[in-house]
């Protein structure tokens, strides 16, 4: 198809002529049935314009215009044929869909329309909403709103291999971000593609909704995950979370995303069996999309600014929801100031998960002692205060606390109390270990965690007397604060 001079851009909505406008297709029994009505309207003394999506021959001698490329139908959001529209001064003032005599009479202002027809008959789906055509039409009519550089791949080029060769993957194959896929992804948000979301370290590049969508496609996300990804990108690129430092550190940490709210279930996240493992698309691709953004847009790559000595597999993706339905307590997001029932994410700079086994404790005191013993060893048994932790209580451990009436605040208070340690055990050289805190702290009692430094989450499968801890990175202003944000990019 070659564009002729003065041909309007496909992304600009064609102006509808004043008077009555009807959109029909031959492949619809209701459209064929209303032909006598259309004849009646065309002799009613007002301008009538009929757009036909396919073959116009069924209209006989009635004049019509072709909407074969579906530009009119797409831009004027025709979902059903026939659709009757009243247009005044180029603006739609009224419409009815299908055949319902009183409505057609009201919109057209013509009485006693085709009395021989039944009073009503539902219409058919418009060709412009045909699922088989939807991707193609979206590219045709909205494609030019995308600003990213187009890269044409040769016929014989393997697209998956090309994406590897260009350095755009995390080591696993990515989904090629075609215009059709990116436009479909953008259906997941009402925000404009060119809206700036954040400045992404380490290269400090402005990232738009469109670039996030491209990387979300590559990660394997569905459009309904996009608001979660956008929120995570924005949260990561705050001074508080400090993704630059999280990336650059030699420690094995990466962004861990904890999701809360009813939306986690709506998009099919898994908070139960194997919650931190493989197998759930939403869990895995939301976390992966964030990391692909840091890599591709921010320019943060292993061996470049990413200087991790060992890293951890969670740096490909680490994202999971809290099991709120099964939890005896309020959620992590509620504790961190989000209203109940709202969707939110909490971003944490964390290392790989480590299990805490205790199959014998049946009292809350014993279990708290057990968890505290494991927590004291986190990062290094003699290093304190500088590192936060996510503690994921499995349902069977949570039940021990819940049955004894311990709520979230009580558990946290008991754990903080049980993780106090004498400075004399922690100073450099104590226990024959050079690592430790300065000698000046010998006579103090030191907490393993700062206040608020334990992030308690309820998740996991219903069987197994286990919990899991995820150690953090340097906290505070020099390192990373956990950041909680409501999911706002709908």
């Amino acid at each position: 198809m070659s564009a002729e001079p003065n041909t309007p851009s496909p992304t600009v909505a064609p102006v509808l002529p004043d008077g009555l406008v009807v959109v029909v297709k031959q492949d619809c029994a209701t459209c064929r049935m209303v032909v006598p009505v259309l004849e009646q309207l065309s002799t009613s003394g007002q301008p009538v314009t009929i757009y036909v999506q396919d073959d116009a021959s069924f209209l006989g001698s009635l004049p019509s215009r072709a909407d074969g490329d579906l530009a009119v139908s797409w831009h004027h959001e025709i979902e059903t044929v026939p659709t009757l529209i009243r247009v005044v001064d180029g603006k739609e003032t009224n419409r009815t869909v299908g055949w319902l005599r009183p409505e057609w009479e009201q919109v057209s202002g013509v009485a006693a329309l085709a009395p021989e027809l039944p009073a009503m008959r539902p219409g058919c789906g418009s060709k412009s909403v045909d699922p088989d055509l939807a991707d193609e039409l979206r590219v045709r009519f909205t494609g030019s709103k995308l600003r990213a550089r187009r890269i044409e791949l040769a016929t014989l080029e393997d697209e998956i291999e090309t994406l590897y060769e260009r350095g755009w993957t995390d080591g696993l194959p990515v989904v090629p971000p075609t215009e059709a896929r990116v436009l479909r992804m953008l259906e997941g948000t009402s925000h404009a593609p060119d809206e700036v979301v954040a400045i992404v370290p380490p290269d400090l590049v402005e990232i738009t909704v469109e670039k996030v969508a491209i990387n979300a496609v590559m990660a394997g996300c569905k459009p309904e995950y996009l608001p979660w990804v956008l929120t995570a990108v924005q949260a990561a690129c705050t001074d508080e979370f400090n993704i630059h430092g999280v990336l650059a550190t030699t420690m094995p940490v990466g962004p861990v995303i904890i999701c809360n709210g009813p939306g986690t279930q709506a998009i099919g996240m898994n908070s139960g069996v194997n919650v931190l493992g493989q197998g759930n698309r939403a869990n895995l691709t939301i976390g992966r999309a964030l990391q692909l953004v840091i890599r591709n847009v921010g320019g943060g790559r292993p061996g470049g600014v990413d200087r991790a000595a060992h890293g951890n597999p969670g740096k490909i993706s680490f994202c999971f929801p809290e099991d709120e339905a099964g939890s005896p307590w309020t959620s992590l997001a509620s504790e961190r100031g989000v209203a109940p029932g709202r969707d939110a994410i909490t971003l944490f700079a964390g290392e790989g998960p480590k299990v805490i086994v205790d199959q014998l404790s049946r009292t809350p005191e014993s279990l708290a002692n057990s968890l505290a013993a494991a927590l004291r060893g986190m990062t290094h048994p003699k290093l304190v205060i500088a590192f936060d932790v996510i503690l994921i209580l499995g349902p069977e451990h949570a039940r021990v606390f819940a049955e004894a009436g311990w709520d979230r605040a009580r558990i946290l208070a008991e754990l903080h109390e049980r993780t106090q340690m004498p400075g004399s055990d922690l100073i450099r050289g104590a226990a024959g270990i050079a690592e430790g805190v300065p000698e000046s702290l010998r006579d103090q009692t030191l907490p393993k965690f700062r206040q608020g430094g334990i992030l308690l989450v309820h998740a996991g499968g219903g069987a197994g007397l286990f919990s899991t801890m995820i150690g953090g990175w340097l906290n505070g202003a020099a390192g990373s604060h956990p950041v909680t944000r409501e999911v706002s990019w709908r």
Binding site: T155, L163, L204, N215, M218, H244, A248, G479
Partner: protein, 92 residues
């Protein structure tokens, strides 16, 4: 059929810059040393300053507030406007 994909990167327009000539001598030139605030980095930089001063360079010292975050833009400007030579290094 060809496939068209969208560039997932930041598409930064990188201006091509040629490197300046390496100076024949450091004598009389101002050299900037940036301390990234890692423990004992100052010991290393003290020694560098001593060596540079011995060959006649003027040394200016700068310090990032924390090693975990990029140098603030004002500090980068200060270094660029006060020094003719910069020694940039990353170590851990």
């Amino acid at each position: 059929m060809t496939t068209t994909i969208l560039d997932p990167t930041g598409e930064r327009a990188v201006a091509h810059r040629t490197m300046v000539e390496r100076p024949a001598t450091l004598s009389g030139l101002t050299v900037g040393l940036l301390d990234i605030s890692k423990a004992r980095g100052d010991v290393f930089l003290d020694r560098l300053e001593q060596r540079l001063t011995e060959v006649g360079a003027k040394v200016k010292r700068f310090k990032k507030p924390t090693f975990t975050k990029p140098a603030p833009v004002d500090l980068r400007h200060e270094i660029a406007s006060q020094c003719q030579v910069v020694i940039e290094a990353l170590a851990d």
